[in-house]
Symmetry: C2
DNA sequence: AAGTGGTCTAGACCACAAC
DNA sequence: TTGTGGTCTAGACCACTTG
């Protein structure tokens, strides 16, 4: 960790490109990258505590304040969770207060708790080969192995979400319907435990569509009922796409909630 | 600004309630409130620079680092914008890179720039009285004066958004169709300039609905076409609601983009 | 009591923008 | 050259958790 000056750019020349601007990178950003690296490498697993700020400061040969700023940013990105008096922990989808952080559909009453968690029914869970567009969004090649899942989520017995998931076959070897249905808690928490894959962020594209005959049957609504089409790409560390998900949401008694700021 | 100790709780007893925990509030939070107060009071207007960190530190009798932390949080909330070497500025909807920050509908191509800004057609702009539910969400009483606007936004000549807006009559006295249609740039930027109202954050509830006869006609689509229903409540400083907006989005060539993290 | 994160300070220096 | 925000440090002390 060079300190004086804070190395203009530590990254080894990956290719022959020459940067006109040396891209000054603050020390705390370099520390952030190092911590991120340890997270990726699984040195600290979801739910575990990472070393204390003082330990990390010693390890990286910087002041506690610099480590603090790096951790602050990682906490702001929901990769770490700070708990005063206890330590800093690797974020996980299994925590109570962030459960279903990525599920934005809530009952119109707003009272998520009375409803409880969704009931899951797995219709299909099979190995397949990636089509061209699925391969593209998952960063694979056409024909590469993928796991495909189709399921229905119900709230209070009412089928509300029909979802198709595509996952890279290599990372999710051995995923089966039993796991998808049996795990208690968010699917993403199961992915962490069973496959060591932690979803960090996601992008969604939302449209309004009309239910076709099959979709209407599965969701127990009239054909042509307007549905929310939610296409999600979820990413692990380092912006690596690890899931494509296409969902159809019934919005009779629920709505998709979003906060703009 | 009490410093030793950092006043356990400065707020005067608003009611007779006794707090079991004194609710320790860090100095920088108190500074944050003071800055927020100045923003609300219009001491610094959108687009203007606020005093330098050193000046604010002197004014509040704290160190620069404490002011910095307060400003950091306000910048993270998009209330202030820092520009190295120049100063810290009050955020505004008129800035180029945050224009239409609250409009999440983008063309499927993803290329927002080729499309350019929306064409606005104001169908209606009238004074009215708040119905019960509109009064409730705007924090008014039923029958209080409101301004109601109906308009259509088109992209490349294609009508895409049909919107109804309700605004508190007192704050938006004198708003007329000419202003709504004539202003170049985001409507929220016009609100800042003409009425001194800055929208800080908003909540949206999204559903899929079918176009009725009138909506279909106005948006030039088939009746029963699935549309995205977006109900937004926008807030100024201090979580005061200042706008209710009900929009219907055509999602044939556009989609609502959302980022989860 | 010991260890963790959280706050606050003061000072030095760097990067950027404007004059 | 000056003034702004941005980084980095070192140390003191506070608040929270656990033993």
């Amino acid at each position: 960790m060079s300190q004086t000056p804070p190395s203009s750019n530590d990254s080894a020349a990956a290719d022959g490109a020459v940067q006109a601007t040396p891209a000054f990178s603050p020390l705390y950003q370099q520390i952030k990258v190092l911590i991120l690296q340890s997270l990726q490498d699984g040195e600290w697993k979801p739910g575990e505590a990472i070393p204390s700020e003082i330990e990390l400061a010693a390890r990286f040969r910087v002041s506690q304040g610099t480590v603090r700023k790096a951790i602050d940013e990682l906490a702001a990105e929901n990769l770490l969770v700070r708990r005063q008096g206890k330590g800093t922990f690797v974020a996980t989808h299994a925590e109570q207060h962030v459960r279903y952080r990525f599920l934005r559909l809530i009952p119109d009453s707003g009272d998520v708790d009375t409803e409880g968690p969704a009931q899951r029914e797995v219709l299909e869970c099979k190995r397949a080969r990636a089509s061209a567009d699925i391969a593209r969004t998952l960063g694979l090649r056409t024909g590469d192995p993928v796991v495909q899942v189709r399921r229905i989520l119900s709230f209070g017995g009412v089928p509300t979400i029909l979802e198709d998931l595509w996952l890279p076959g290599n990372a999710f070897k051995g995923l089966n319907a039993g796991q998808m249905a049996g795990y208690h808690g968010p699917t993403y928490a199961m992915f962490e435990v069973e496959f060591g894959v932690r979803m960090v962020r996601a992008e969604e594209r939302i449209r309004a569509v009309a239910a076709d005959a099959q979709q209407a049957m599965l969701l127990k609504v009239e054909q042509h009922t307007p549905l929310l089409s939610v296409e999600r790409v979820a990413y692990t560390y380092n912006d690596v796409p690890m899931e494509l998900r296409r969902g159809l949401y019934v919005t009779e008694t629920h709505h998709y909630r979003n906060e703009l700021s």
